[in-house]
């Protein structure tokens, strides 16, 4: 029984893998469905409401999925991630682990396993949204969707690293989850007010929409910063956890 196997078992036996699948899978189904049937839904509310809607395109099917993934999906990731990564939440379990393995050896499998599960389930949801969009609306350029999925996956890995950092600052799982979400919102708001937006990880959220609409790849800056920040956050988390007393 290694710490890697422990994390695989945690995902499986705590049903957290299925929670992620349910969240990303359902918003993957709902994205294209919403776009396809939104005019009919609005029409049932009255003629005036339909008049205010911009015309829906197939790209909106995938964009809608990303939009929901950023909100509902990231919230689910925050709780699932915090439950695995905040291993000091129960001091007795922390004593068991910390007196037998280094913080680095404990944290890295947790980070990597959660990140892999989140990326995998997000990708499943994206595949569902892509197929749904194709069946209900129009088939999109698969290249843009794949690259967009990779870029958003990088953002999700960054989200997991943020959870790691917050877990090194506070102990309780709900606090770790909510403060992580709060931190991500602040990060996103910073991008709105200044010219630094192209450098921020949150820039990757809109990459799929941009690429599927035929835009050029212009995300090197945010990709570089996201990679560097993810590694830095992990390193800081390990350092902080190493010196934290139980």
């Amino acid at each position: 029984m290694s710490l890697w196997k422990l994390e695989r078992l945690r995902l499986w036996r705590t049903q957290r893998l299925w929670i992620l699948l349910a969240v990303f899978g359902s918003i993957g189904v709902l994205g294209p469905l919403t776009v396809r049937f939104l005019p009919e839904l609005m029409e049932s509310l009255g003629e005036e409401a339909v008049g205010t809607l911009p015309p829906m395109t197939a790209v909106d099917g995938v964009t809608q999925y990303i939009g929901n993934a950023v909100q509902i999906g990231v919230l689910a990731v925050a709780f699932v991630g915090a439950a695995a990564i905040a291993f000091d939440a129960k001091p007795e379990i922390a004593v068991f682990l910390r007196t037998r393995a280094s913080v680095r050896d404990i944290l890295i499998p947790r980070f990597a396993t959660v990140a892999a599960a989140v990326v995998a389930m997000f990708s499943v949801g994206m595949a569902v949204a892509y197929v749904g969009t194709g069946l209900l609306l129009e088939w999109l350029d698969v290249g843009g969707v794949v690259i967009g999925t990779l870029l958003f996956s990088m953002y999700l890995v960054f989200v997991v690293a943020v959870i790691g950092l917050v877990a090194s600052l506070v102990r309780r799982v709900p606090a770790v989850a909510l403060l992580s979400v709060g931190g991500l919102i602040v990060f996103a708001l910073v991008g709105i007010v200044g010219p630094i937006a192209p450098w921020l990880p949150s820039e990757l959220i809109g990459a799929t929409d941009h690429l599927v609409r035929g835009g050029d790849f212009e995300f090197w800056r945010s990709v570089s910063v996201t990679v560097v920040l993810t590694i830095a956050l992990l390193a800081v988390s390990i350092r902080r956890l190493e010196v934290r007393e139980l």
């Binding site: 078992l9 945690r10 379990i93 068991f96 007393e245």
Partner: protein, 294 residues
């Protein structure tokens, strides 16, 4: 005394203005079962945390002469979805995965958990968790075991099992365990340290501590003639006070052990009263503990 496996020199620990440990010198002889006793809040858990490397001393130095240390918290917990066997196997793999896997089943057997080894921990009782915790420490055969209140809050059966497990470790490992259950300490420990309000009140052998207090009082039981003998006893210079207890035993506080040993029995014989028994008052660890921590 054997060489110390664990020693601290003037170790202090402060949490803000609160002094949890105040210049504590601890010496745990190699191969001993050492009981760290003290009332709640005396600093026992803090001391164990420092020795385990989970907390840092504010001042002083700590020397642990081995890297092979097993730690058991007072209420062991594990991921509830793991089985008992997986917990012990995880412990084995984290410390030394070259150790044969059969060792896992051996310690589960010793801990009396073989029948429940493949059940998830969520269904374990408090006593079973305690025994599982001990098994997960013992599987790695550490040189030093740090056990925090290992038998606290267990029913008599569970307590018996845990004490037997600790006794079985004597000679193979050095055990340092904290407790406020004095009967447990008296039963399994060779050496003790009494912590009170963060300070070490006494440290040494259990026998040495008890012998300090033995002999300061004798209990005499007679059929009748209590007033007569009290009068005789009170006239002796080596007698500090005489009183009659609730069970009509005569309690004689003495000032000189040697005088009492030479004269008491003869004095009783000369009185020609019907003497049932003459015994030095048996000093319990509890009495001594209360004396030291007063």
């Amino acid at each position: 005394m054997s060489e110390s496996l664990v020693s601290t020199s003037a170790v202090s620990k402060r949490y803000g203005d609160v002094v949890a440990l105040d210049r504590v010198d601890l010496a745990v002889p190699q191969g001993s079962v050492y009981g760290l006793i003290g009332p709640n809040g005396a600093g026992k858990t803090t001391m164990l945390g420092i020795l385990a490397g989970l907390r840092k001393a504010t001042a002083g130095s700590v020397e642990v002469e081995t890297a092979s240390v097993g730690v058991l918290p007072d209420t062991p917990q594990f991921d509830r979805w793991l089985t008992g066997r997986e917990v012990v196997d995880l412990s084995r793999c984290l410390v030394d995965d070259a150790r044969p896997e059969s060792k896992v089943d051996e310690v589960l057997e010793v801990a009396g958990l073989t029948a429940d080894a493949h059940r998830q921990v969520r269904g374990y009782s408090r006593g079973m968790l305690q025994r599982l915790g001990l098994a997960s420490v013992v599987v790695n055969e550490p040189d030093l075991l740090l056990l925090d209140e290992p038998a606290a809050a267990l029913d008599p059966g569970g307590r018996r099992e845990v004490l037997d497990l600790i006794s079985a470790l004597r000679g193979t490992s050095t055990v340092l365990f904290s407790s406020h259950i004095l009967d447990d300490v008296q039963e399994v420990c060779d050496e003790i340290g009494i912590l009170t309000r963060g300070e070490m009140g006494y440290q040494g052998s259990l026998d040495g501590l008890l012998s300090r207090y033995v002999g300061t009082r004798y209990l005499v039981r007679i059929r009748h003639g209590h007033d007569d003998i009290i009068r005789v006893l009170e006239a002796e210079q080596w007698v500090k006070s005489v009183s009659i207890g609730t069970n009509r035993d005569i309690a004689i506080e003495i000032t000189s052990q040697s005088e009492a040993e030479r004269r008491l029995v003869g004095l009783l014989a000369r009185s020609e009263l019907p003497v049932v028994s003459v015994v030095p008052d048996r000093t319990s660890l509890e009495q001594v503990f209360l004396e030291v921590t007063r």
